[in-house]
């Protein structure tokens, strides 16, 4: 059978169009699409690069802000944190946990004295709350009384409940405002109620005080003593010397970990 010219031309045209279609659909269009994606990507990248100044500014702002907050915090802590020694009204936590049970009671009495002094601020009369006594359990005193496990750092927190004061209106107002000035502690007096007939007024409020302890170091738990402190302090290395037994570097008859400056000074 002979093919006509038209048929031959049609076949040629068909094959040519097939080839064109192959290149267009297989390569050209995907390439164009991909190119467009890359260009959009480049545009987005340029937008990011244009934010370079902003990013640097953010870092500078962050550093500035952190610096300001650090200064602010240091200023607060300079007045409202507990010193790292008993003699100065705070406590040294760099003593072994058995010594800490002893020091904690002295510390508690010191805190009570400081609280009593503050409670009389403004000239009011008070039936004062009492600071709770620390536990004598060496294994848990650091974690429980000094909140080392729950806060992750040593601090005392006393929810002292309701405090009742009597005096004139001005005296009570001065007294409540005065909690902001309590040395060594951050205190918050909440829910103030005033009643009575002037000038014999009665004020009641709830008192909470927090003492951040400036402790350069905390003595780790003495081997196998307790459960809470190791996890809390992060002293993950197991073992350690038994209390006062064969501690290298400690002469016989001396107790390890009694290096507290405040306690020494006190003694």
């Amino acid at each position: 059978m002979k093919l006509t010219r038209l048929t031959i031309l049609s076949i040629g045209l068909f094959l040519g169009l097939t080839a064109v279609a192959f290149f267009v659909f297989q390569h050209v269009l995907p390439n164009i699409e991909e190119t467009r994606n890359y260009r959009e990507n480049a545009q987005a990248l340029r937008a990011e690069i244009n934010k370079s100044g902003m990013a640097k500014q953010r870092v500078e702002d962050a550093v500035t802000l952190i610096g300001e907050k650090a200064d602010e915090w240091n200023a607060i802590m300079a007045r409202h944190s507990l010193p790292g020694s008993l003699a100065a009204g705070g406590i040294d936590l760099a003593v072994n946990e058995y010594q800490l049970t002893v020091d904690a009671r002295r510390f508690r009495n010191s805190v009570q004295s400081q609280l009593n002094r503050q409670l009389k601020y403004g000239g009011v009369q008070v039936i004062g709350p009492e600071i709770p006594m620390p536990t004598d359990d060496a294994a848990s005193v650091l974690a429980s009384y000094f909140n080392y496990s729950s806060f992750g750092f040593p601090a005392v927190l006393y929810n002292l409940g309701q405090v009742t004061v009597t005096g004139t209106f001005d005296q009570i107002m001065t007294h409540v405002r005065g909690w902001s000035n309590m040395p060594n502690f951050l205190a918050v007096a909440d829910g103030l109620q005033i009643s009575g007939t002037s000038p014999n007024m009665t004020g009641t409020y709830n008192l909470t005080i927090v003492g951040f302890i400036q402790s350069e170091r905390v003595f780790p738990p003495i081997g196998g003593g307790g459960g809470a402190a190791p996890a809390a302090t992060g002293a993950t290395t197991p073992g350690g010397p038994p209390a006062g037994v064969n501690v290298p570097g400690v002469p016989p008859g001396q107790v390890p970990g009694r290096g507290g400056v405040g306690r020494d000074e006190e003694e």
Binding site: K2, T4, R5, I8, G12, G16, F23, V24, H27, N31, E34, A42, E48, I49, S52, A55, K56, Q57, R58, V59, D61, A62, I66, K69, E72, W73, N74, S81, P83, L93, A94, F151, F153, M173, V176, L186, A189, D190, G191, Q193, I194, S195, N200, V210, F212, I213, Q214, S215, R217, V218, P220, T233, G234, T237, G239, G240, V247, P248, G249, G257
Partner: protein, 340 residues
């Protein structure tokens, strides 16, 4: 005259050959065009890729810079929380005195206060309850209006007034005049003699304030109540003042950056830094005035083990890493197990 004596098939074969050649040329042209288009598109794609490859490191650097800010803020979240908590605690002690002192100028003289208390009623709003005594129903009405003049007061409600003022009763068969009487009292008789007896029956031994509302007692510390014919009135004010109390326990025990339950709105971290340090609560951040808090890994004899968690170390000496320093005097030396 020329005659084409060649058979028809010869001219057809020639024409078919030409058509084939033309078809091949057409196919080649179309294929060549397709190839050219492909090459062009690949070239464009490669250029776009090169541009992206050139820009990406720069953009990555910018993003990395931006992340530095976020990282710094996140690392110091506890610092922001601590500062916010401390400031909230210190500020809160002034809030109640300031509130009560600001209310006093708006308390009229005829309303003698017996007690004041306030409690937070939500973010930025508080409820103040005033209990006091006043005499007349007119004062009771005036007091509500007076208290509404206090700035930031949203609402004032009142309760407790006991009306003792006389009123005119309706006529009855026995009483055709209806003289004014007090609530709870019987009608005044019309007959003069009966009326005299009525008033005689009403008479009481004069006592004044003695024994009423704590008046007349020697103990000056006992609060005085309502005077005769006065009422104890409770006024409740909803006022736009923030009395929400910081909760140190919940705040310090919470993860860094979170907000204590009683704290209310957290303080923002500020600006474009990403707000990583949102709220309050959290452990001691900075090293305080003396030094850092406890190091993460505590070693025997390791001197000041660096800054406390979340600390910058500003204001305090930065010690060697835990376990590196020599033993302080009197401490257990760090030799156990190679410096724990």
């Amino acid at each position: 005259m020329k005659l084409n004596l060649l058979p028809k098939t010869i001219s057809q074969a020639k024409a078919a050959r030409a058509a084939i050649v033309f078809s091949i040329i057409l196919f080649a042209l179309l294929t060549g065009g397709g190839v050219m288009a492909m090459i062009w598109s690949q070239d464009q794609l490669q250029k776009a890729k090169d541009v992206v490859a050139d820009l990406k490191p720069k953009a990555d650097q910018v993003v990395a810079n931006a992340r530095i800010a976020e990282t710094k803020m996140t690392e110091n979240a506890s610092l922001f929380r601590n500062v916010a908590l401390a400031n909230a605690m210190l500020d809160h002690n002034r809030k109640y005195p300031e509130l009560y002192t600001s209310l006093l100028p708006y308390i009229p003289a005829y309303y003698r206060l017996q007690s004041m208390n306030a409690s937070p009623a939500g973010p930025g709003q508080s409820q103040v309850t005033l209990v006091g005594v006043l005499k007349s129903f007119q004062q009771y009405a005036d007091l509500t209006l007076v208290l509404r003049r206090i700035p930031d007061v949203m609402s004032v409600s009142r309760a407790g007034f006991q009306p003792l003022e006389t009123y005119v009763p309706g006529l009855s068969a026995e009483d055709q005049i209806a003289m004014p009487i007090r609530p709870g009292e019987g009608r005044v008789p019309l007959d003069p003699i009966d009326r005299l007896n009525y008033y005689i029956a009403q008479a009481q031994e004069p006592g004044g304030f003695v024994g009423t509302g704590g008046f007349g007692t020697e103990d000056m510390t006992t609060p005085r109540g309502a005077m005769p014919e006065w009422s104890v009135v409770t006024m409740t004010l909803v006022i736009n003042r923030d009395l929400q109390t910081p909760d140190p326990g919940a705040t310090l025990g919470s993860p860094s950056g979170s907000v204590g339950t009683a704290l209310g709105t957290p303080g923002g971290a500020g600006g474009g830094a990403g707000g990583a340090a949102g709220g309050r609560g959290g452990p001691m951040g900075l090293g305080g005035p003396a030094a850092g808090g406890p190091p993460a890994g505590i070693g025997f004899g390791g001197a000041a083990g660096g800054p406390p968690p979340g600390a910058l170390g500003r204001g305090g000496p930065t010690g060697p890493p835990a376990g590196v320093g020599g033993p302080p005097a009197g401490a257990i030396p760090g030799g156990v197990g190679g410096g724990r």
